[in-house]
Symmetry: D2
Subunit: 348 residues, 4 copies
Amino acid sequence: MDKLKVSLLGATGMVGQKMVRLLSSHPYIELTKVSASPGKIGKRYIEAVKWVEGGEVPEQARDLKIVSTEPEDHKDVDVVLSALPNELAEGIELKLVREGITVVSNASPFRMDPEVPLINPEVNWDHLKLLETQRQKRGWKGLLVKNPNCTAAIMSMPIKPLLKYRLNHMIITTLQAVSGAGYNGLSFMSITNNVIPFIKGEEEKIPKESGKMLGTLVNDSIRHVELKALVTSTRVPVKVGHMGVMYLFFDSPVNAEEVKRDLSSFKSLPQERNLPTAPKTPIRVLEGEDRPQPEIDVSAERGMAISVGRVKNENGALRMVVLGDNLVRGAAGITILTLEVMKELGYV
Amino acid sequence: MDKLKVSLLGATGMVGQKMVRLLSSHPYIELTKVSASPGKIGKRYIEAVKWVEGGEVPEQARDLKIVSTEPEDHKDVDVVLSALPNELAEGIELKLVREGITVVSNASPFRMDPEVPLINPEVNWDHLKLLETQRQKRGWKGLLVKNPNCTAAIMSMPIKPLLKYRLNHMIITTLQAVSGAGYNGLSFMSITNNVIPFIKGEEEKIPKESGKMLGTLVNDSIRHVELKALVTSTRVPVKVGHMGVMYLFFDSPVNAEEVKRDLSSFKSLPQERNLPTAPKTPIRVLEGEDRPQPEIDVSAERGMAISVGRVKNENGALRMVVLGDNLVRGAAGITILTLEVMKELGYV
Amino acid sequence: MDKLKVSLLGATGMVGQKMVRLLSSHPYIELTKVSASPGKIGKRYIEAVKWVEGGEVPEQARDLKIVSTEPEDHKDVDVVLSALPNELAEGIELKLVREGITVVSNASPFRMDPEVPLINPEVNWDHLKLLETQRQKRGWKGLLVKNPNCTAAIMSMPIKPLLKYRLNHMIITTLQAVSGAGYNGLSFMSITNNVIPFIKGEEEKIPKESGKMLGTLVNDSIRHVELKALVTSTRVPVKVGHMGVMYLFFDSPVNAEEVKRDLSSFKSLPQERNLPTAPKTPIRVLEGEDRPQPEIDVSAERGMAISVGRVKNENGALRMVVLGDNLVRGAAGITILTLEVMKELGYV
Amino acid sequence: MDKLKVSLLGATGMVGQKMVRLLSSHPYIELTKVSASPGKIGKRYIEAVKWVEGGEVPEQARDLKIVSTEPEDHKDVDVVLSALPNELAEGIELKLVREGITVVSNASPFRMDPEVPLINPEVNWDHLKLLETQRQKRGWKGLLVKNPNCTAAIMSMPIKPLLKYRLNHMIITTLQAVSGAGYNGLSFMSITNNVIPFIKGEEEKIPKESGKMLGTLVNDSIRHVELKALVTSTRVPVKVGHMGVMYLFFDSPVNAEEVKRDLSSFKSLPQERNLPTAPKTPIRVLEGEDRPQPEIDVSAERGMAISVGRVKNENGALRMVVLGDNLVRGAAGITILTLEVMKELGYV
């Protein structure tokens, strides 16, 4: 198979580094270009990056020259992956798409755009069909595909196989890792030995983005699922791994054992096609009463699996504790998996 | 005023040290005896203790000789305070009470005994009247008073002034500090950079003990409030400060602004009588969107105040984030405040 | 006694907050003005500050209006204290001093100026006499007094009483707290579960500033002590408390027990005059083999004492482990103590 | 090649788990037996272990039944690896060796025995020849090989290639990770936000064990190198990675650039024979002024490389900061590499 050539925008950030790592051993996606902030253009990647991923900068990326984010610098790749900061992404990505480049992006702009698929591969790979509508209605020469907010990526996963029961409302408290705010997002003094019970914008994003991803493609648009959710987001002194304590209320009672089987047996197209980045078991159901834990469970299936524990039915509510790797399952990993699905389905 | 002489059982533990500190500047309670594990008997306190409270061992305690927990070693004090480990407390405390000694204790045995008052002073100081029943029915020569579990002590406080609205049920997720498990309760390797979403026994204690404390003394017994609560307890890498994200559902809607006024204006007997250990404002209502935080708020009013933030009414639920010092408000401080109330009301 | 009125520059920073706290209960220094960055001018202190000191903003400071750093805003105070960032301090402080204002400052510019006293009160209060030279030679209408770098403030203290032995050279490894880099100086991701074995500029400052402080005033200038020191500075994931593992080599062997007596009996003018902020025992010698520790020892004497442990003589080298509170002993506290000495000696 | 069958003693501890992980993908060493504390005998490994290594228990180990440490349970393996706690190791290992079993062990007893090789493979693989003396003099039917203390394993490595310069003395301050004390060795409360400047026994072991490893086999015994070293060991709140700030004094001056070349070009038998667990570059010399750091460098070459930074010549002293993975390079990894060397040289 011919390799798929990709550029990576925001390649020196924390999510960018994670993508560089994941792509370094990819069977058919080849990283051929990297871009970073203007001051770094022209430098070799190894000179431009403050590598924090652990170990060494992968061989394939070391000597790549940093290029700009301008379309002319990305003409000869098949796809551009974007790990840009939210505040820079809108203009840059739009320009690329208009010039005919296909962009798969982690950044927040356009996520709720009705003609842009918001993809969490196992949950809604079929929403990629929206790209046809996008092509017709927007007049962009390229394609734009988005990945969700990290918490929404993690929390939406175990809801998917439970949608068959009629979900009435949810109450969620999250305990989110510091890396979710970026490498320099929180100072040591502010969060060590502390909990900050607020994350700007997060409590709204989770139900909104999940509602879109869990929705159905009807004709040429997404019919969102209406998720009534009360969410409180907290930041805890943990480096990687977003946890959610979820209470789900269904119209009629569900059986916890059955729910566990629904979760652990959940498979989707990425598993059926055996895609390289797909976890074999997207949702791990743990029986240990003190699980999941970030330090033990976050790296399961190289960070691509969601872990669910403490599943219990109590007074009509289904309680579960959900954990996922916010940098892999919540960002770098699903971007790559999304591209694998796109290739599988012929979009690239 | 004559000083009240007290013994302290479990004086070298973390809660014991906190009591030693608090008593060192007390206007009328004087620590005159300390006991610890048998191997330490006869040593001076300063030799027996591995002091972790910060600063120096208070002058008054330094040279106290460690005595046993046997009644004969506590004949000449007015009251015995107990910071014993739960597993040792039952036998020791019972023996003391039977021998005519008054014991105020933090340990868990007897907390749910119908003839033992479980006191969180601002919430239910009036339950001390149960001591009369205790005296009649149990035939003990002394008195036994209990303080609640640390989380129940903290979470019951803001519920008290809201009981006038008809509370239907609650959903609570706690983020609890490591000191709640004792100084050696959790290893660094197990909890650093981690969250453990389970604390043995905790999820049951919170509604059970709160239900007793929030109950009413009717004739000679406590009529518990039935608290329907779904609780998930998690341990977070924080030294001191238990946080709870609480969702309260009332029979009819409440007004968040009114709730905040109810909370911040809450006062009780300890405030009215201006007791030395009483916080001036038992419940601090914070307006900052990212509060309360352990590192900033836990020491308010020397650890005796509860902090409440993020009060919001949403879809019929009242959400609030509650924080308290688990070692002071949740343990050492309320024991001392309980004794102050007992003295005020003539029980000692 | 008439109160001494002071302004505080940089009042909203971490060291500034510490000074606000310390001054809030000061017997004769009264904080009457606070300044902060231009965008905050006109606001009340409580609105302008992101208070991280724990507990509440002290009553005396809450309603002070933020003023500029311009001389006209500080005409009616006796002294200006400065907790300005190093990069802003030079111009601002110079302007104030030229306009006739006396400035006592923590910021680094001018520390090595031969006509500016660099004061660590117990070590070299007598260098204040250099102010007379300053007045004559510089033509400033006001006075400028500096406090040292936090590590130099801590490490120079136990060297002072040992200067009588002939010190040949030193090898020092420091383990420094994150607060030394400022509240936002290091991100959680960068330093948690990590050690960074480098702090910019620090390894040079320690011997240089200590050499000046430990020097002698001869006629109208300071004769520095030449300290041959090899220093490696590391940053460790600790909030407050700089530690140094010091190996001192003397021309002739010293006796460890004698050294301990020299250290623990060390007193200076601040102790003799019983100044309010002076620690009673400036150097605590600890016998516990695992001391000093930041969590236990840093707050001794409200952060003003240095703790020394593990004193040992081995192969001709004297080893000791030294610890001090970098925010109090290393910054806010010595500024205030310096002012107390200045008042005592009639400089203000 | 026939696989080498091994047993693992202490298989459920932290170092044991690390060995299980490393052996799970080993080309020719096959883990066939595991032993643990008596209460676990008969259980499957997956039931007996509290897995903290991250990810899943490797397939090969999951269903192994826990056996005792008695010789009859280890008759059919080629070698027994031991990750036993120090206090249990002596009797158990001796019994096995006497019964004809070859034991390669991490535990401390016998490390300084003159007839037991203490192996850090790159440093002194040739000391294995001492096994011939051992066989003759001790009358054991099996062989006993030891690995050093974790800190000695790490610090001795960069000294090896510098022995050609005449080393006079050293001053070392270590900053050691909590895992060095075992999974439950230090409580969260005791070491978080803290430094403990003392580790029992450690300061003596480093020069003593290094002196043996760096020594020369002369006839049938090891002539130790006499290392004059002043060592201060501290514990820092880091999970994995022991750091040492080392000052080396040589009889005549050395050149820092030359030293860096000596270190980075250092190779030994494990590299020459390309052994599976050997790091390609045993000593990484880092040029970044703020390196090495545990979070970035400890996992280099899967934890088998030592990282050295801040190499500098100053006043006749060579300063370097050394870092290694205390669980891999300092324990599990060198045991396996030692066995690889033994196989290569025909000892097993």
